[in-house]
């Protein structure tokens, strides 16, 4: 066997998980299998070689996102679509075989190179016809929508000598199909470039179906718009059959990952799976919960972040108080996880909580609310109910 093939077979695949709404149960099953096999989860297409779609992307936006992510995968690559929990193992095995199949990979590479060349030729014929332009402007959040009320806003130090050049640059048009970022006022009085970033739908440790479009200046979120994509699956909610303690551990694992504590995240997922199969060792679970409660660095990551004044809700308090309540659920000292209209309230409060926060803190806020969107009805349907 040649060296390339041998090296490929020694390697463990690195999957990127995409979860559609209603695919939470499949995700949990996939995470269990991947954990047992030691296939670490990837964060981006660049890192990954295996695309695993959990659930059915029954929505155009998510289906398009999956295709876009798939096209950003470097070779070799393979994909698996899991529609039912019982298919996880067979789908992963099939994808693994394809990943190591040198012939298939060669033809994939050839096909992609060919497609890229055709696209380039087309671009040359219609030089200024930017086909992607209309989609750009639709995905762009409304400018100046959520600007902070800064008294000195709009007066930057460099306004005088830069204004003219800016106007010039706007006429420059796109570079490689993308615009240059533009300036916007900010709370500290500097008007520097604003970047529009979407968090979700394909993002690790992120609620399935959630899309938050943020405008960033530096690493601070200036405005946030929340959207939910995909069909609701109120009956097929992944959490219906799951004990509250396991669901709380699942939320905890996500928060730990966002807070950069990978080892604890692994333990949380393992204990969640053991709770689901009933094979959990209570003493170990207690030790794990104790370690999290004692962790100063975790406290440092979550204290004062995302404070909500909602008495009697399981969303009350800051991120620390929320995850400590999850641990109470894990220990059985509190009954429910994500009670009542948890997800609806979380979605409603989310933009206000995110604005003005540092991006890492914003991720902690979302992870500490961890809305389960499987059961959330579309906005118009909700209005009708009210």
């Amino acid at each position: 066997m040649d060296l390339s093939g041998w090296m490929r077979i020694q390697a463990t695949p690195r999957p990127l998980l995409v979860t559609a709404r209603g695919g939470g149960g499949i995700r949990v099953a996939a995470e269990r299998v991947l954990r047992q096999r030691g296939w670490d989860l990837a964060s981006t297409p660049a890192e990954a070689d295996l695309l695993v779609v959990c659930g059915v992307p029954d929505d155009d936006a998510l289906a398009a996102a999956v295709e876009r992510v798939w096209s950003a995968f470097p070779a070799p690559r393979a994909r698996a679509s899991v529609h039912v929990e019982t298919d996880v193992v067979s789908e992963l095995d099939r994808a693994r075989v394809r990943l190591d199949d040198v012939e298939w990979q060669r033809s994939d590479i050839a096909a992609r190179t060919g497609a890229a060349e055709t696209a380039r030729a087309e671009e040359h014929t219609g030089e200024h016809d930017h086909t992607g332009h209309t989609t750009h402007s639709t995905t762009e959040p409304a400018c100046g929508h959520h600007r902070s009320s800064d008294p000195g806003g709009g007066h930057s130090m460099g306004d005088h000598d830069m204004g003219g050049h800016d106007a010039h640059m706007m006429h420059g048009g796109d570079v490689a199909g993308l615009r240059m970022a533009d300036r916007a006022p900010d709370r500290d009085g500097l008007a520097l470039d604003q970047l529009h970033v979407s968090l979700g739908p394909v993002l690790p440790d992120w609620p399935a179906g959630l899309v938050v479009r943020v405008a960033l200046q530096g690493d601070v979120v200036q405005s946030a718009e929340v959207e939910v994509i995909g069909e609701a699956h109120p009956d097929g909610s992944s959490w219906l059959g799951m004990p509250a303690a396991a669901a709380a551990l699942d939320s905890m694992a996500r928060l730990l990952s966002v807070c950069g504590w990978g080892t604890a995240m692994r333990s949380a997922r393992r204990l969640r799976d053991e709770l689901l199969t009933g094979a959990v060792d209570d003493a170990e679970l207690g030790r794990f919960v104790g370690r999290l409660r004692r962790s100063r660095t975790l406290r440092w990551a979550t204290d004062y972040v995302g404070r909500l004044d909602l008495p009697h809700s399981d969303l009350a308090g800051d991120a620390t108080q929320r995850w400590r309540r999850w641990l109470d659920v894990v220990e059985g000292r509190e009954a429910g996880h994500r009670r009542g209209d948890h997800a609806e309230v979380a979605l409603e409060r989310l933009p206000g909580l995110l604005e003005g926060q540092e991006l890492a803190a914003a991720r902690v806020i979302v992870a500490s609310l961890d809305p389960d969107l499987d059961s959330v009805l579309p906005r118009d349907a909700r209005d009708r109910v009210r």
Binding site: S4, M7, R8, Q10, A11, T12, R14, R35, Q36, G38, D40, S43, T44, A46, E47, D49, A72, P74, A75, P76, I109, V175, A176, G177, L178, L195, V197, L203, P204, D205, L216, G218, D219, L256, S257, V258, C259, G260, W261, G262, T263, A264, R266, S267, R269, R270, E274, S295, T297, L298, W300, A301, E358, L359, A360, A361, R363, V364
Partner: protein
């Protein structure tokens, strides 16, 4: 204990080899801790995982983002491992060192700072929001850990009365520096994690920004960045041995083995700390570094300076 002296020229070639082996050990130990948390058994496959992953990345296609600055990106990616190897130049193994520079301690400092520029270039050069955020996060991390790190190094230099690493080892013949410079040692270990952007100081490559600087890199570029991180962590762990842990000093075993044992132990400690902590966000850590770590390391330097002056009767 014999005085440290410069070995023959070919010992320079040993530096990348030994550092690479140490880095592989560190990465393998991290995999073992991961596997334990996952509930998997510890097998040969787990120990060889860093090698298998390197192979996977060598086979992977390289990628670049449209209109990215490939010159800066490439320079940054290459500089990360190169800086780590260069930093390790002045670490003695037993009583031999590859190069006994008269300013060895400053050399280590300068090579470690190369990572600032390298990581920023890699992040900026990828033309991705995540890389941009990661690169800038590393700069502010540098601004927060660098001064305590320098004070720790200066404390050692004060104790040794020299900037030469071999003099620092010689000065610890009777008493290891870690005993009377514990604060400097802890500050050095913290900065070892910070300068190799690992453990609680991995904001630059955080999972919350999908890998930050690493987000758009695949293939051999990614391998160099990840390997560079492990090499840098290993270099810092190895450097703590001559600076604080008495170099090759120790009973029974030969000197070179003692150096390795201590370096592996420090590296193991750092990797373990990595597995027990959440990431320290820089909006929190910057203030802590400036108002807690700097005064503490300064006090440590003061104590050492007073002791040194007292011992030489310079009053």
């Amino acid at each position: 204990m014999n005085a440290v002296s410069q070995g023959p020229t070919w010992t320079v070639l040993l530096v990348p080899v030994l550092l690479g082996v140490l880095a592989l050990c560190g990465a393998a130990f991290a995999r073992v801790l991961d596997a334990r948390a996952d509930g998997r058994g510890i097998s040969g496959g787990v120990l060889a995982a860093p090698l298998a992953e390197s192979g996977r990345l060598l086979l992977q296609q390289r990628r670049a983002v449209v209109a990215s600055d490939r010159l800066l990106a490439r320079t940054g990616v290459v500089l990360v491992p190169v800086a780590a190897v260069l930093a390790a130049l002045v670490v003695p193994l037993g009583d031999r060192t590859a190069s006994d520079l008269s300013i060895g301690i400053v050399w280590f400092n300068a090579m470690e700072v190369v990572t600032w520029a390298a990581l920023w270039m890699a992040g900026w050069g990828s033309n991705s929001v995540w890389g941009l955020l990661g690169g800038y996060r590393f700069v502010v991390q540098g601004l927060s850990y660098e001064l305590p790190h320098m004070f720790a190094l200066i404390t050692v230099a004060t104790g040794a009365g020299s900037l030469r690493v071999s003099d620092a080892v010689a000065a610890q013949e009777s008493l290891w520096f870690v005993v009377w410079m514990p604060v400097a040692f802890v500050a050095f270990l913290l900065s070892a994690l910070a300068l190799s952007f690992s453990g609680p100081f991995d904001t630059a490559t955080g999972r919350d920004i999908v890998g930050g600087v690493l987000a758009e890199y695949s293939g051999v570029d990614r391998l160099l960045l990840v390997a560079g991180r492990w090499l840098m962590l290993s270099a810092a762990a190895a450097m703590s041995v001559p600076l604080f842990l008495g170099g090759s000093g120790g009973p029974l075993l030969p000197g070179w083995l003692w150096t390795l044992v201590k370096a592996v132990a420090v590296l193991g400690l750092l990797v373990w700390v990595r597995s027990r902590t959440a990431t320290l966000r820089m909006d929190r850590f910057a203030e802590f570094g400036w108002l807690v770590l700097i005064p503490l390391t300064l006090l440590q330097a003061l104590v050492v300076a007073v002791v040194v002056v007292g011992m030489t009767g310079g009053m």
